[in-house]
């Protein structure tokens, strides 16, 4: 018999890989990973508390689009008061942007849309502004604070007021 012939004879076409040990390994690995895996999708919102600092008042006249304002949201379960503070604007200019929105504990989309459009209005007028001071009432729960922060930070892909300062009583005058 030739060498080539004998080699062909030894080849068995029905040879199968033994999958059982691999299956066993997977069966051990999956429960282990499931147990150690956390399905909590944890994220974070950057926020800060107010700190005392020296204010620098600019005397130069700047273009309206270059003016930077700080929006203030006072939140309680009756209403949301939106106002604006800036060293570069007059009382009248500031009061034009004041807005009051009815706000109930049971959140509905209309309230959110009104809040969002009020903030959009401020952002459109003063596009360089990016800070908001959120001042919730004592009885406002954390979930509602986060909801308002979400509305204030972004609108779809557009960034409104990404820097959020959470504070107690704030005077916006």
């Amino acid at each position: 018999m030739s060498a080539l012939g004998s080699r062909r004879k030894r080849t068995d076409p029905d040879v199968e890989i033994n999958m059982v040990p691999i299956m066993n390994m997977f069966l051990v690995l999956i429960p282990f990973l499931l147990m150690s895996s956390s399905f909590l999708n944890l994220k974070a919102i950057d926020a800060s508390v107010p700190v005392r600092s020296e204010s620098s008042v600019s005397q130069d006249k700047t273009k309206e689009s270059d003016i930077v304002v700080t929006a203030v949201i006072k939140l309680n379960y009756k209403e949301i008061r939106i106002s604006v503070t800036s060293d570069e604007l007059t009382e009248i200019q500031l009061s034009e942007l004041d807005k009051k929105i009815e706000w109930k504990k049971e959140r509905d989309d209309k309230m959110v849309i009104r809040l969002s459009s009020a903030l959009q209005n401020i952002k459109a007028k003063y596009p360089k502004s990016n800070t908001i001071i959120l001042s919730p009432g004592d009885d406002v729960v954390y979930e509602d604070i986060v909801n308002v922060m979400d509305v204030a930070r972004t609108l779809g892909d557009q960034s409104l007021f990404p820097i959020v300062v959470v504070s107690g009583e704030v005077s916006s005058g």
């Binding site: 994220k43 974070a44 950057d46 729960v141 979930e143 930070r153 107690g168």
Partner: protein, 180 residues
Amino acid sequence: MSLGNTLRNRDEFVPPKLQITAMMDMFTIIVFFLLFSYAERPDEVELTSDINLPVSNTQRDYDNTIKVFLSVGELKIDDEVVASIVEEKISGYDPEHPRNNNIYRVLEKIRNDRLKLQKEMVVEEIGEELAVNAVAKSAQKSQVLFFCDKSVPFRVINTVMKTIGMAGYPNMQFAVTGER
């Protein structure tokens, strides 16, 4: 059917084959999914069942910093319970002397320990003179990761936040559950 036929059929019986390929595919996908979700997390945060985080649309990842856990009943800093909360009031907190309470003391101790350790490390690398500025800069950047139950009212949150700010951490991150 006669007994003879039955016995004849038994000889022809072919044992059924288990379709392992499909099962292997499924297991491979699950294992890879679990391995990737395991590798994605920067570090493990153990959240107790008494803290139910609100959902937010933020995409920001959290940093591994000092963790403050505020639930309806107690306040914890890292693993240490620093105060209990009774009827929405932090026990032992005197608003007239906020620096005398346990929250401030624990945070201040953590801050001092960290700064000391950091300074020692930086001094070894860049020398005493430059180390002071470097440590001061990094101290300004340091922040707290704040876990708060979604039903906690702002009067409690405000007290805790003010104390955290007073202890040298005005910047903080609110932990939330991200939208999937």
